[in-house]
Symmetry: C2
Subunit: 406 residues, 2 copies
């Protein structure tokens, strides 16, 4: 393939090709970190980059790096996302960010020649947490935030360390294994995975922040008893107490208002018979907002309401607390200008979902663009973004990279 | 054992002896219909009755009948309860009703000789529904209400028909198998299985009715979605809708007031991940009240609220509807007089639990007495009724039987 041909390649063609690795009968994709489909996909992405004149390598986590060396070699501008998927995922989540980085960079080089700063497209090894009980292991290694415990196990009992070593040694047959220095900034394109851009009829959105997110397990202890012979006034019903707590919290969430999201996704009842008053209920609470203070307020409210619930005892355990990732003001403003100059409408919105960018944001300035998700659907074979919107996102990324690297 | 000795026997001794069959390490009892412990228990009860001068037999369901023939042979007054237990049950549930009938009748005959009417103590084969997916199979057969399907299976895959045939053929080695005619009335003593008599400090309660009882499965269908990226206003959250419905129904139940009981004992959430908005929730509704009209009103309210729930669809399926069993006014009034004459305090209360009497009530006049359950506990090895209360109940039953049979 010649360089000119490559620059004409449509994002949807790149994504469709990449989506062959781990493809399912139903049109979806399952590609877990370090599995065979993942290794094939990573090899494919790196080989494709080589045909585009990029220097291709992996690091010891199997993150893929595709680089156009800059004239001023010591500064790297990186862009990308992840190539792993959830179980029964789609073509776009993660893969679009890799596609966009590769296509934007190779198009720039074809058009403008060697950049001043080095441009690196990154295909992170793992973000979804679908195989091992961890997530963002790729970007955490690249950013030097955390190394992932080697003894974490997947459902088959294989450890993260074994899987990583096996996969990286296979990649190492073709690609040099080189640890990469931190870039000076990181850019990511991603599908929104929500319905807001579609609802507003916009092709592109600028991410203001990745939300502060907390998760809790709430345990309600009452008294198991006979559903027929225990009068209402003597009951200590764990489920009715839980239902009231959920209703109260949802009302409070409504008063705080969007973009706060409050979700109870899990709830279990014991003993769980139709004629027995529940003695024990456990449920999850997931709360997110771009402003950490508001999430902290919600947690305080949850704890207060829990302690005030009559007749039962309520225990609140927080098991996840991710600080919000605020996008860089300059990069965000530059995105706004570049979009406006093209006469495109856009909006600024927080990301309720987590992304590799939140890890990179711990170390370097970051910026993110969203393109619309049809019906807000993601993590599903039904994931879809219109090809024109994919192109719009790449056009803006290309312009941003031009500003940053040329 | 001589007759005079038998009439002095305490109820707790009889119960303790019967409780040896199926006894557990923790002091509880597991005695499922037609199992070895059940066969041994039935043989024991019938043998004991024979020593008391009663004619003992079984029918084709293994119901045990222990009879003092009356001078006027064509009228039978029956009293009793069941000898099967739940898994990990106690000494008293069911067994007390058999104990009371046998001890009251043999004490009457010892004191007053042959009755005018025939007195039959009944040990029903099965009431609890703990082995096969059916309950009241013994009383349903005796009353001629329903025959139980032979192909129902227990957890080991044995059918009801096989188990019945095997158990009854073993009993038939010792006892004649005789189908019994309907009695002219049926009396049952039972532990309350609730906390009301204990709360009021009473030794005995007269049952006004066995509650009308309805059970439903409520299915709430919303839309599964990402907990981070779906704004609150676009959610169709099945769990929040279910929680609101449960809260609203509980508030309505409170307004209707006791003795209505409303229980949600089962609730399941799909897909059931902390970061996914629930798309499907199923929960049970159990509602009971001695007045059928009030239960019907509650059902109408449930259906109305279900149909008015916004953003989701709610389906209500009723799978149990037992009509209330109203106790016979004359027998109830006679109980009141007999209790009052002895200077005892009592109350009249509905039964929230089901009993063999509700089946007999479909065909003949019935009456029921409750004795207190400590802490309202039943279906547990912790089941306990004070020996003095056991005796009080039997004294009243004996007086009632005297009025009816002599």
């Amino acid at each position: 393939m010649r360089m000119e041909q490559l620059t004409d390649q449509k994002a949807i063609d790149y994504l469709t090709h990449l989506g062959q690795f781990g493809r399912l009968e139903n049109g979806g994709v399952t590609r877990f970190v370090y599995d065979d489909a993942w290794i094939a996909a990573m090899n494919h992405v790196l080989r494709d980059a080589r045909t585009r004149g990029m220097a291709a390598s992996v690091d010891s986590y199997g993150n893929g790096f595709m680089t156009y060396q800059g004239k001023t070699a010591d500064q790297v501008v990186a862009a990308g996302s992840h190539i792993d998927t959830v179980n029964q995922g789609g073509l776009y989540d993660g893969a679009y960010g890799v596609t966009a980085a590769v296509l934007a960079m190779s198009s720039l080089v074809a058009e403008f020649g060697q950049p001043k700063k080095t441009m690196t497209a990154v295909a992170f090894s793992e973000e979804e947490g679908s195989r091992f009980p961890t997530s963002f292991s790729g970007s955490k290694h690249y950013a030097g935030v955390t190394e992932t415990a080697a003894d974490l196990q997947d459902h088959q009992g294989m450890t993260f360390g074994q899987a990583r070593q096996s996969a990286v040694s296979q990649l190492a047959k073709t690609w040099p294994v080189i640890e990469q220095p931190l870039p000076i900034e990181f850019l990511e394109l991603h599908i929104e995975q929500g319905p807001i851009l579609e609802e507003k009829g916009l092709s592109v959105g600028i991410v203001s922040a990745i939300c502060e997110q907390k998760r809790f397990t709430v345990t309600v202890r009452g008294q198991t008893n006979h559903a027929g012979t225990t009068p209402q006034h003597l009951r200590r019903d764990a489920l009715k107490a839980a239902a009231k707590l959920i209703c109260d919290l949802d009302e409070a969430a409504g008063k705080i208002g969007e973009p706060l999201v409050f979700t109870v996704g899990e709830l279990t009842v014991q003993p769980g018979s139709s004629n027995v008053i529940p003695g024990l209920v456990k449920f999850s609470v997931d709360v997110r907002h771009p402003d950490k203070q508001i999430v902290d307020q919600f947690e305080a409210l949850l704890r207060k309401k829990a302690s005030q619930t009559p007749k039962v005892t309520v225990q609140v355990d927080r098991w996840l607390d991710s600080r919000p990732a605020i996008m860089d003001a300059r990069l965000k403003h530059q995105f706004e200008q570049l979009i406006a100059k093209r006469g495109l409408a856009y909006m600024t919105l927080p990301s309720g979902a987590g992304h590799d960018t939140q890890i990179m944001n711990l170390k370097v300035p970051t910026a993110m663009l969203f393109v619309p998700s049809r019906n807000g659907i993601s993590h599903s074979p039904k994931e879809y973004t219109a090809p024109a919107d994919l192109e719009t996102g790449i056009t803006i990324l290309k312009a941003q990279l031009y500003q940053e690297c040329y």
